[in-house]
């Protein structure tokens, strides 16, 4: 490939042609600040509107300043990234952004974690010289996401996520000039829109314009209510990310500390969603084998592929966008909801208390889980199976609020019976993990043989759409994997067109799967963090003695004592669900 | 309409079309063509100016002389109607009185074609009839 010679701040640099100034500078240790620009390597996600103009640099011979994020280097270029002209321009642009931004940093949900705040600090803004009218908008609260549109700086990252990556199409820039802002159509509330609450907009917002609904207050209230037994479940992806909130290296596994922290917060029983993940495999795996069996027997009514259904944003996505296909996904509930259903029946019975007196809290990497636990079909007598779903970030806030020194905590173990899990449950937190867990169980159930090797490398990775054929002892099973709803849409359209040869497809709404969920600690545009979280989950899986869901002793016990067998009538009632046409 | 199939056809078509707006082209560049102004006020019309004008238009056209024949108001020489002002490219205008068909013929043949002055000039010398 051709190379280009240039100088950046008087340093000679040689880079590949087609490199942007931003990338070239970064290569020599000059980190030009950016605000709207976001590039998630490996995920093929890029937001490059060139709109914020924070990254401008001086290029010798050019009339005006050049945006580093979208200007390619050229031979002989002489770039100055911090001349007086540049600094002056950059500061003025920042002042302009701030002049149309509320000054409530101290009480903003994003305070301390805000790209805008950091950058204003780094640019040494001490005064706004250009004050004037500020745009004001109505706040929009939905079951999962809050939009404080006053704080929108038109970086368009959320728009890119919502349209190009997720193809949900709820958010768009509207109006123009000073009035322009990112909004749903007709400035309607999110809960009137086709929003899936995947939370990817929240994950990338550089300000406090998009945040999750904060339910920590409700959790504190429940914990301090002496009449309630409060139990907690924690999703697989949480343990691979929570440490980041306490300054730990990305990819640190903090399962033991997490359990310890939850116990110190006052939860009566600390359980694991991984347990429910194993349960999901029992149900979903059985459903797959049933459908497959009928299909192989020539039953024309049975539909394949079967699609996973543990992701609530994905469920809402197809209910809105592909309602005619709502009989294809597995009817299995998500692990969060299976956990809630079992907790409020089986476990409440064990404790001898009424379901109303048992409060189930879940810690999720996800904002859509807040919406999911509020769905009517997951309630009995108006009492939800899961009472409150809080995000990894909210949990971190709770821990800080409760004066717990997280990093100094000892490692503790989950409680039983709903705390035991296998490695198969752990990898639910990454793209490819659910289907790998399902394969481990389905293979052994179907072939009645033990798997020679448990690591299915062909199902792992970060490619947006992956496919693999697994040999079920002579029966080739075709598997598809998609993460990111845009990728899911492609597979769905193939199915619609009759071009899909898959037997089973795993779909996760968030790029990377739950490790990249909208409720996780902010990645601030660094996709490397997601890969480290993913690696952490595979490590945890490897270190487990049990790595196949059907071998989880407490699952076996649950079926023996309570459910009977997978897909039994009771299982059907508690662990399966139906889908609705939401168009 | 039929399609024009070649450049040659287009060129031919242009020539046909040009004749239709020749009057406009010539009026846009009157200095390059012969200008004939016929006094067409009441007095002129009564004295047969209309026929004179028609004669000029038709004859000049037939002989393919690029010319602009216009009518104008009373030139103030009612005694000599019909009056006609002729201006050759690059020359001062000349006004002729009592121009009927025969005189017009003479003006065309001698003055317009060969530039030889003809009898019957009304001495106006410095003013054109528009003033």
């Amino acid at each position: 490939m051709d190379t280009v010679n240039l100088t950046i701040d008087n340093k000679p640099v040689v880079v590949k042609s087609g490199t942007t100034i931003l990338e070239a500078a970064s290569g020599v240790g000059m980190h030009i600040p950016t605000l709207c620009h976001m590039k998630l390597d490996d995920l093929n996600i890029e937001n490059k509107p060139g709109g914020c103009r924070i990254c401008v640099v001086e290029v010798e011979g050019r009339r005006n300043l050049a945006p580093a994020c979208c200007t390619d280097v050229s031979e002989g270029m002489k770039i100055n990234t911090h001349s007086m002209r540049v600094i002056n321009a950059r500061r003025t642009v920042m002042e302009l952004i701030l002049s149309d931004h509320p000054f409530d940093c101290l009480i903003c949900a994003k305070s301390g974690n805000c790209d805008l705040q950091d950058m204003a600090h780094n640019l040494g803004i001490r005064e706004i010289h250009y004050k004037g009218e500020q745009s004001t908008y109505r706040e929009d609260t939905s079951p999962a996401i809050i939009r404080e549109v006053d704080k929108c700086i038109m970086c368009r990252r959320c728009e890119t996520m919502c349209n190009e990556v997720q193809t949900v199409g709820v958010l768009s820039a509207i109006n123009r000039g000073f009035e322009s802002v990112v909004s749903p159509a007709f400035e309607m509330n999110l809960d009137h829109s086709v929003c899936t609450y995947c939370g990817q907009c929240v994950a990338v917002c550089p300000t406090g314009a998009l945040t999750e609904v904060d339910e920590t207050g409700k959790v504190i209230r429940a914990l301090s209510d002496p009449t309630k037994t409060v139990i907690v479940q924690t999703a697989p992806a949480v343990r691979a990310a929570l440490g980041e909130e306490f300054g730990m290296e990305a990819g640190s596994l903090v399962t033991g500390k997490l359990v310890a922290a939850l116990r110190r917060l006052g939860f009566d029983h600390v359980f694991d969603t991984d347990f429910a993940a194993d349960l999901t495999i029992m149900e979903e795996g059985t459903e797959l084998l049933n459908r497959l069996g009928k299909h192989l027997a020539g039953d024309k009514d049975v539909k394949l592929p079967i699609l996973t259904s543990c992701c609530p944003a994905w469920v809402k996505f197809f209910e809105h966008q592909f309602p005619e296909m709502k009989d294809i996904p597995s009817t299995a509930r998500s692990p969060q909801q299976m956990f809630g259903a079992i907790a409020k029946t089986y476990f409440a019975d064990q404790l001898g208390i009424k379901r109303e007196d048992l409060v189930v809290v879940s810690i999720m990497p996800c904002v859509a889980k807040k919406y999911e636990c509020g769905r009517d079909e997951f309630k009995t007598n108006d009492n939800p199976d899961v009472d409150h779903a809080i995000t990894t970030r909210e949990l971190a806030a709770l821990i800080k609020l409760s004066n717990i020194d997280f990093t100094a905590l000892p490692n503790e173990d989950f409680d039983n019976p709903l705390g035991e899990s296998t490695g198969a449950g752990v990898i639910f937190g990454t793209t490819g993990g659910v289907i790998e867990a399902a394969v481990r169980t389905a293979y052994e159930v179907h072939t009645k043989k033990e798997l020679p090797k448990l690591d299915f490398d062909e199902l792992r990775g970060m490619e947006g759409i992956r496919e693999a054929t697994i040999d079920f002892d002579g029966l080739p099973i075709k598997i598809g994997i998609a993460h990111g709803l845009g990728n899911a849409r492609k597979l769905l359209e193939d199915i619609q067109a009759g071009n899909s040869e898959f037997h089973a497809i795993e779909i996760m709404s968030c790029p990377g799967g739950c490790i990249g969920g909208g409720g996780q600690p902010y990645h601030h545009g660094d996709a490397g963090i997601l890969k480290k979280r993913q690696a952490a989950l595979y490590t945890e899986d490897k270190n487990k003695t049990l790595r196949k869901s059907h071998l989880n002793p407490h699952i076996i016990e649950l079926y023996e004592k309570f459910l009977g067998e997978p897909m039994s009538e009771k299982a059907h009632h508690l662990l399966h669900t139906e889908y609705f046409d939401r168009t | 309409m039929t399609k024009i199939k070649t450049l040659a056809d287009l060129r031919k078509m242009k020539e046909e079309a040009q004749s239709k707006i020749k009057l406009r082209e010539n009026s846009a560049n009157p200095d390059q063509v012969v200008q004939v102004k016929v006094g067409m006020a009441t007095c002129g019309i009564a004295s047969g100016a209309k026929e004179t004008m028609k004669y000029f238009v038709e004859e000049l056209e037939q002989e393919a002389i690029d010319a602009v024949v216009t009518q104008t108001g009373c030139m103030g020489y009612c005694y000599a109607e019909p009056t006609v002002e002729v201006k050759l490219p690059g020359k001062e205008p000349v006004v002729y009185g009592h121009v009927k068909k025969e005189k017009a013929r003479e003006i065309i043949d001698s003055y317009i074609k060969r530039g030889e002055l003809v009898d019957g000039i009304i001495p106006v010398s410095f003013k054109t009839i528009d003033d």
Partner: protein
């Protein structure tokens, strides 16, 4: 926003227009032009139909509608009054004319009078700068309008 129910033939009309443009997303602006010329404005429900037909998101349609000043979501008055605010008209007093219209009709720019007879809009240069300031009512153009002419112009339409 009050929901309106579109008549079936209106929906069909919109669908037909979309078909005329092969239901192509890239023809959105042409479709919006056509639909607005038929219906007079582009209410939310209409945009929803268009989004569906062109297989795009309604947010995107709304984003486009609100970007271009030519598109409106508010029904126009029977007699849409437009005051040219191009430079030539401006320096020759268009603002005073506009204010007089606003005062007489008691509406702001972009609004319609209560009886639905008039609506006021500003536009940029109709290219009749020689007649500045220019006001159009429907198709009719009024040139060299002074604030004192406003009453007369309104009266022309009042009793129709």
């Amino acid at each position: 926003m009050p929901k309106i129910k579109l008549a079936e033939n209106t929906v069909q009309l919109i669908k037909d227009i979309c078909v005329e443009f092969e239901n192509k997303e890239s023809e959105l602006i042409n479709v919006l032009h056509q639909v607005q010329s038929k219906l007079g404005y582009l209410p939310a429900e209409v945009q929803e139909v268009i989004a569906k037909e062109l297989k795009t998101s309604v947010a995107k349609v709304y984003g486009v509608v609100t970007f271009y000043s030519f598109f409106t979501m508010i029904p126009q008055g029977e007699n849409p009054i437009s005051i040219c605010m191009g430079t030539a008209c401006y320096v020759r007093g268009a603002e005073q004319v506009l204010n007089e219209f606003k005062r007489q009709l008691k509406v702001e720019v972009g609004e319609s009078t209560e009886d639905g007879k008039f609506s006021i809009n500003c536009l940029r240069c109709v290219g009749a700068c020689g007649l500045a300031p220019v006001v159009t009512v429907g198709e009719k153009v009024y040139g060299r309008v002074a604030p004192t002419d406003v009453k007369k112009i309104i009266a022309e339409y009042h009793n129709r």
